[in-house]
Amino acid sequence: MKKTYINGVGCISAQKTFDTIFLEEAVENNTETVLSVNAPVYKDYIAPAAARRMAKGIKNGIVASALALKDANSENVDAIITGTGLGCIEDSEKFLKNILDNNEEFLTPTSFIQSTHNTVGAQIALNLKCKGYNFTYVNGAVSFESALLDAKMQIENDEVNSVLAGGIDENGDYTISLFKLAGRVKNELEQPFNFLTSTTTGAVHGEGAVFFVLENEKKDTTYAQIVDVEIKNNLEENEIEGEITAFLKTNNLQVSDLDAVILGYNSDAKFDSYYKNTAENIFAQTPQLYYKHLCGEYDTASAFALWTASKIIKTQEVPEILKANSVIRPAYNTILLYNQLSGKNHSFTLLSK
């Protein structure tokens, strides 16, 4: 069975991450309830004629995937697999508002076309002229992990040699206002927000696009190996520890073998207890890291976590800004990522050097 290596990464996030080494320019923002991407100069990557119809999410996806390919010294891949929670939500909003506001008249197709969830993966394929396998997963917080699982399975089965896999989501103003109404966004009056000690509900939201070149062989550019990915739609809080232990066991590991665990704290006290319980118990002696204070919560935020884990394993350096406790290790070779959103869509991703 072939192994899956991360051989290139590209990251567009609320931090400056598209042309940095790692998180050296990262700044924690604890006053905003919604974080927007620190955008690259799109013209450097996409011809204006091609970009004129592209939604923000498509542009970010194209740049992130171009960065990942360049990082991996690759020109093309056998498959493109994308995860997105809400797709190009700004265009969905625009088209729907036009329908409602104009009584279904004088509508134009562009925003409808872009609202289709697979438009980012399709545009990347169109740009690369990549005729291979092209899937898009849209299942909340496991959208990105579904893409990873699919990619890994096809590499293992020797169906493909290389895959561009990524997660992309964008903020839409009206959707954010609906999220606020539904209590999913933090109350502005409660700032400054502290992700680790939050006692209030709602999360700081964000957006981003992170792509990875996954290949079946180790190269000079290799960051890490994806050992395993597991998805569970529903778990009770008291089932998490058992799930993690069992997951590690199927990979012949135990908690003490982990050099770090990356947890998806999003400042929503109602559901951060899923992480906190493990942090205080099985992971008490494990270096604990968190990241959503940098990128915000969104369905594919865990792709940002995989980016940080990849960078840590490659650089053997853990930026202070990610640390949730003071436990350290002499080396960072094995890292576990655990994420969930509102107690649903749990994912466990295991990386090793």
Binding site: I80, G85, L86, G87, F95, L96, K97, I99, L100, N103, E104, E105, L107, T108, P109, F112, I113, S115, T116, H117, N118, T119, G121, A122, Q123, A125, L126, L128, C130, K131, G132, Y133, N134, F135, T136, Y137, V138, N139, G140, V142, S143, S146, D150, M153, Q154, E156, N157, T175, L178, F179, L181, A182, I231, K232, N233, N234, L235, D299, K344, N345
Partner: protein, 399 residues
């Protein structure tokens, strides 16, 4: 030829019936269900024709025994309706007895609720519960809950090929030994959003859709949901299950040509079919019936027809037909309902008529089969293509 993954259960709801039996009966008796729209208020009501499921939302709530506080979108309700049938049909009583997953597909998820309440959320607190329905994953989440599945649950959204891709992923998960059992399929309710979207692309017909006809004017939209149960051979053996048919081949490729249109020569479609033949170990001449994508848009049928001709080169193209004149184009559910129809074709030895066909296309010599035909069917090839150049092919074989 390789053995393929066992299909042990099916469930379906579409405009031509609320069960597998009703759908089959409509196909045999040419009962198409393309009508004026009833459940959605739209300014296009007098122009368009659709394939609408005859049940209202409140009837579906009753059928599913949902509470008054439920926040199911129509897409989720018809999805749960079909998925429950499939599980029952497969004789499953203890859903988590084996490692069981759910791979669903949808194009716009709970858009039917979003568009209904979009501006009223701020003034009507009772509606706030529907905000989370918009998420594409909400449908799978609700179906999983209805079925009691605890495990791998995910959703694929690649426009009109979505359900083919969920069947493909399910088959791959069983073959790889990651799951013992997986419920796969798709669901899409009609929505103003999609009606108007296809209208802007000017590919909606004001008449009955006529796939592969020279005078075709476009498609009729429809709504449907269908799910299939795939099980590993170990489970089939252990439980002595009846295998309805097998998923023997699958392939997905991208046309990489245009955001919505298919290429002139159907490159993506050709590659998808080619891959499916490779996976199945079958030759094109082994296929007894092709259930074409056949949406009746000028672009699709030309591109798909050319791709089929490329696959068959000098050989005779087998009997083929599009079932979309019966149901309309049900988007992310299309490949799932057509998978059910393909299995029924194998089980009963029938080729369905391609209704409304009159005049062959001038570009090539391809005529769909226009009447019901009884013959032995070992293998069916089913195509589904979507926006973003997404092309998928599935091959179903007799067990």
């Amino acid at each position: 030829m390789k053995k393929g993954v066992a299909i042990t259960g099916m469930g379906i709801i579409s405009s031509i019936g609320n069960s597998v039996e009703e759908n089959f009966d409509s196909l045999l008796n040419e009962k198409l269900a393309i009508t004026r729209i009833e459940h959605i208020t739209t300014v296009h009501a007098d122009i368009i024709k659709v394939g609408e499921i005859k049940k209202t939302n409140s009837e579906l709530v009753d059928d599913l025994k949902l509470t008054a506080e439920n926040n199911f979108s129509r897409t989720a309700m018809i999805g749960a309706y079909a998925a429950k049938q499939a599980v029952k049909n497969a004789g499953i009583t203890s859903i988590n007895e084996y490692r069981t997953g759910l791979i669903s597909a949808t194009s716009v998820g709970g858009m039917d609720m979003t568009e209904k309440h979009y501006y009223d959320y701020f003034t009507n607190p009772e509606l706030v519960k529907y905000i989370s329905c918009h998420d594409g994953g909400d449908v799978a989440d609700k179906i999983a809950e209805e079925l009691g599945i605890k495990g791998l649950v995910t959703t694929i959204s690649t426009a009109c090929s979505s359900a083919a891709n969920s069947i493909m992923l399910g088959a791959r998960l069983i073959k790889s030994g990651k799951l013992d059992r997986v419920i796969v399929g798709g669901t899409d309710a009609l929505a103003k959003f999609t009606i108007n979207g296809f209208k802007t692309l000017m590919i909606l017909s004001d008449d009955y859709n006529k796939p592969f006809d020279n005078n075709r004017k476009g498609l009729n939209l429809g709504e449907a949901a269908a799910y299939l149960v795939l099980e590993s051979d170990e489970v089939v053996e252990k439980q002595n299950k009846k295998v309805l048919a097998r998923v023997s081949g699958y392939g997905n490729a991208n046309d990489a040509f245009h955001q919505t249109a298919s290429s002139e020569n159907g490159d993506g479609a050709y590659l998808a079919m080619k891959k499916a033949f490779e996976v199945s170990g079958l030759k094109p001449s082994d296929i007894d019936y092709i259930n074409v994508h056949g949406t009746a848009t000028p672009n699709n049928d030309l591109s798909e027809g050319r791709a089929i001709l490329r696959i068959y080169e000098d050989e005779k193209v087998p009997d083929f037909s599009s079932t979309k004149p019966f149901t309309g184009h049900t988007l992310a559910a299309a490949a799932a309902i057509e998978a059910v129809y393909s299995v029924l074709a194998i089980q009963n030895g029938v080729v369905y008529p391609n209704l409304n066909f009159e005049t062959p296309m001038e570009e090539f010599d391809l005529k769909p089969h226009t009447s019901l035909k009884n013959k032995n069917i070992e293998h069916v090839l089913s195509n589904s293509f979507g926006f973003g150049g997404n092309c998928s092919t599935l091959i179903f074989s007799k067990s």
